[in-house]
Symmetry: C2
Subunit: 561 residues, 2 copies
């Protein structure tokens, strides 16, 4: 039992403004956490209790699913990261040891776990298997942000699975989705948590998902329609809203403008035209020096993930944006680049399909202070159209014709993805199959839940005007006993011990003296979000009982001892 | 329930020889742990279960005592360590961040906790208080050793207490000794764990204790007598055994010897004399350049902790051993230094009290290849006698006259010590007392238990020929069910679920096929040290029951369903 009379972690009168989100400020104010330095938090006792409750729910569901908990190291040798060519990632810390030795404090443990399983996977009978651990992770973030939601030091549950083939992986992948949803249900955020398709990087598009909880402070945007379509904006796809396509196409004209209309906004302002009517041309250079452009409606952003995939297929190369020098060499100028046939550049132009949704664009001419108006598809030298845009409000669904896509801010609480043989191959995993033949491809998957991040998400999600109304499953205690009158502490302690013997956790507010009247104590109970409030006072004792009130109730009721 | 049929962490047929102690080899062989790199261990599922059980016992006892659990950061800013002038300690890791920023991965958390309590200690009413956390710690050990017992990465429970005055601290200090002993009792090592006085460094002699568990692989030696005296060898004190004091003192003589008798052993061999009859003279130089010597019986070692304390009182200075150049400058030579009056050096000589226990010593003459024999106290220029030795077998107790001291190897499992204001002062802690006056001295104490180290200690302590007989409190599971016959797995699972509903943990050995007969399974049960073994086989089912055997019993008994 936690007796508040000897509890030193007082709440603050004012909200510290050290964080960029409300829940972290509240967690600071109410003594759940403290900042050790920017983006590294100390969990004070109340915060630690919430954290452990979150952890235990995750642990129980993982254990019930038959996954094995273990504990890998934080300090890892350089060689482990060189095996997978991940040593030189600037966001991962390097730690010098004696002599020339170098270590890494692990940001993730694919290398550890694959190295361990090199020994334990020998036969097809050892597969599939899944292990997990709950431990602190470290990222050398240049500028971390969002309080508990992203930090240099954070607690993760990370799980790793190993499979004899892709079919087996896919069955497992569907199972772990259900395990994750059970976790989020028990944490009370299941109804507002969706499974969104996410970018799987080079390995997999199909098997990469994020668990996203709708929250206005979320860093991500989830795009959905009523068919169940649910994608992270970075991957989302929709049909661009048509603009002035009923307008007749006019012949292209050159016009003298000014040198400073080098952004879409300035261009739109200069022409008194909407953003969408301005043509955006972004020029890129591949690693081998080829140039290409993406042409898109001025109100839309080029989604570089989509471009990357398209170009990888096309040229098999990586690329970066062209420099101003590159542009001059190509014969154009920043702000005035255009793919019009009349002023053709020696590059390949690709058009976003949104271009079809409007007519008579304003654009550049590849010469300074010279623009074009009434530019139409026919005027452009575009060799292929594809989807390069990031959908915006107004786009419609590809699954439900005419239905507007919805866009909601969300916070990522978990992710699951296919690793394929990205790690198992460099570590040389293999096993012998039913016919005793060696199979040298082991499929892996990787599954994360942000434990300390979840504490921030829950705080934000369950925030009320009087405190954080933690769900019972994670509240710092089950019961909060307010005792009025020094003489009644003994009686309250007896009740607390009774509750504890039933496996309940109890905070005993036995603070006495001037400012600790009933209302102060009741306010603190709400503030800490304890689900059940008990009052033991001369009044209740007169009736040989105590008052019990659930947080969700307005009136308490008398319970006899 | 852990089903072994799908458990990939097989045991090894042979014992890996990667560690310098038997228990770590065994823990490796039986799949409890793996080495990620030298002295950093991965805890595989079985090891993780043991670790968590140890952790939970510590947590329960700390919570019962009213101490508050929290969780401090691992990554800490350089400034925190500069506040206490502990940034430049080579055994503590430094971690470069972006730009010039530097962090430390914490080897201990005095700085964190004191920094946090700067805010929370305001009034005498906030004191005393004690917090703890259980977390990994990191030390940049040059050459770690002893497997799990000492590592670069290890798990510690560290607690910190704050007090308004020394009397309050002392009351608390006695209480936490009892809490610690309850922990060690529950872990099954209480009977062989003693509280030994240890070196408190500069802060405190009186309030610095180690909890030492007797083990032959221990790194420490505990010196005891029957009065309850229990000291770490580094601090122990006894009465030197008398040697030839009944022999008549003879006049000192110079003798020509050889240049190579520069160690005690060579000297003893040359003179065909016992080691104790050779005089050892160690010359030191203080930081300000003063020289002094410690003169001691040749079979004893100078204990530098005792010398440090003596010299600190005498000169208020630190010191190091004199170099060969220093010796030449002083007019002597390595191996032949002596404090005899006849060849007086310009230094102050201090004699260990053990010198009185013998007569007629062999010694040097401050000249190369020239020695002395029949040297007696009267021949020496010693300005003060004190205790500078480390006792050895044969020394007797100071408390029980004539009783021989005992010397036993032990392994440190916990330590507690007074920090005084070492940390509270640089962090500027203060509080207002009953009269509302500011008190700027806050007493602190610090209390550690080595969690991962305890796993190694328990493994070593409970080792048997057939496995580690873990006590029930930490065993990886309560029950091990051996099921014979594929058809009976269902029945065994029902029983396992029943046991789990009673809060018991179960390993189900449902492995089938050739090598997994009864004896193999029974051996694995012993090897993993599970306290209760259940057998479900056609034979037991015939009698409508199962066989239950405790590890300590030879015969099991039939229990009906």
């Amino acid at each position: 039992m936690l007796r508040l009379s000897t509890f030193p972690f007082k709440t603050l009168k004012t909200q510290p403004k050290v964080s960029d989100n409300r829940s972290t400020s509240i967690l600071l104010q109410w003594g759940y956490i403290r900042q050790c330095m920017a983006w590294a938090y100390e969990f004070l006792p109340m915060g630690h209790k919430v954290l452990r409750n979150i952890e235990n729910i995750i642990r129980e569901e993982m254990d019930n699913a038959g996954y094995h908990e273990m504990l890998m190291t934080i300090l890892t040798p350089r060689e482990l990261w060189e095996t997978t060519s991940r040593w030189d990632i600037p966001e991962y810390f390097k730690v010098p040891g004696w002599g020339n030795s170098e270590y890494r404090i692990a940001p993730t443990n694919e290398e550890n776990v694959t190295n361990i399983f090199r020994e334990f996977i020998q036969s097809y009978k050892d597969l599939p298997t899944c292990v997990y651990h709950i431990q602190k992770k470290f990222r050398n973030e240049k500028r971390a942000k969002s309080g508990l939601l992203r930090g240099r030091e954070f607690i993760m549950k990370d799980a790793y699975s190993f499979h004899a083939n892709i079919e087996d992986f896919e069955v497992f992948y569907e199972d772990i989705k259900k395990v994750y949803m059970r976790v989020f249900d028990r944490l009370g955020i299941g109804a507002d948590t969706v499974i969104a398709d996410a970018d799987g990087g080079a390995i997999s598009d199909k098997n990469s998902h994020e668990f996203q909880t709708f929250l206005t402070i979320g860093e991500d945007i989830i795009v959905q329609d009523s068919s169940g379509y649910s994608y992270n904006l970075e991957l989302a796809s929709g049909i661009a809203d048509t603009k002035n396509t009923d307008e007749a196409k006019k012949p292209m004209e050159y016009i003298d403008t000014t040198a400073d209309i080098v952004t879409m906004e300035k261009m739109a302002e200069y022409f008194h035209a909407p953003l969408w009517q301005c043509l955006k041309t972004v020029i890129y250079k591949t690693d081998s020096g080829k140039f290409f452009s993406i042409v898109i409606r001025g109100d839309l952003d080029v989604n570089e993930i989509k471009v990357t995939k398209f170009i990888a297929r096309k040229y098999g190369e990586w690329f970066t944006q062209a420099t101003e020098e590159d542009l001059i060499q190509l014969g154009t100028v920043r702000g005035f680049a255009t793919p019009i046939r009349d002023a053709r550049l020696p590059i390949e132009n690709y058009g976003d399909e949104s271009l079809m949704s409007a007519h008579n664009y304003f654009g550049g001419s590849n010469a300074l202070a010279k623009s074009t108006k009434n530019v139409n598809i026919e005027d452009l030298d575009i060799i292929e159209f594809a989807e390069f845009n990031e959908p915006i409000e107004g786009f419609t669904s590809r699954n439900v014709p005419g239905e507007l896509l919805t866009f909601r801010r969300a916070c990522e609480v978990g992710n699951i993805f296919h690793l394929g043989e990205k790690y198992s191959k460099p570590f040389g995993l293999s096993f012998s199959d039913e016919n005793n033949e060696t199979v040298s491809r082991v499929e892996m998957g990787c599954y994360g839940i942000g434990v300390s991040r979840l504490m921030g998400v829950l705080a934000e999600y369950f925030m009320t005007d009087t405190g954080i109304a933690w769900p019972e499953s994670v509240a710092p205690a089950d019961y909060y006993i307010i005792v009025i009158g020094e003489d009644n502490i003994e009686r309250a302690m007896t009740l607390a011990k009774e509750l504890e013997s039933q496996g309940k956790s109890v905070i005993l507010d036995d603070r006495m003296g001037g400012k600790y009247g009933f209302w102060q104590k009741a306010a603190d109970c709400d503030l800490w979000g304890i689900p059940n409030r008990i009052v033991i006072s001369p009044k209740t004792l007169e009736k040989w009982g105590y008052e019990l009130k659930k947080r969700t109730e307005i009136e308490g009721k008398l319970i006899n001892f």
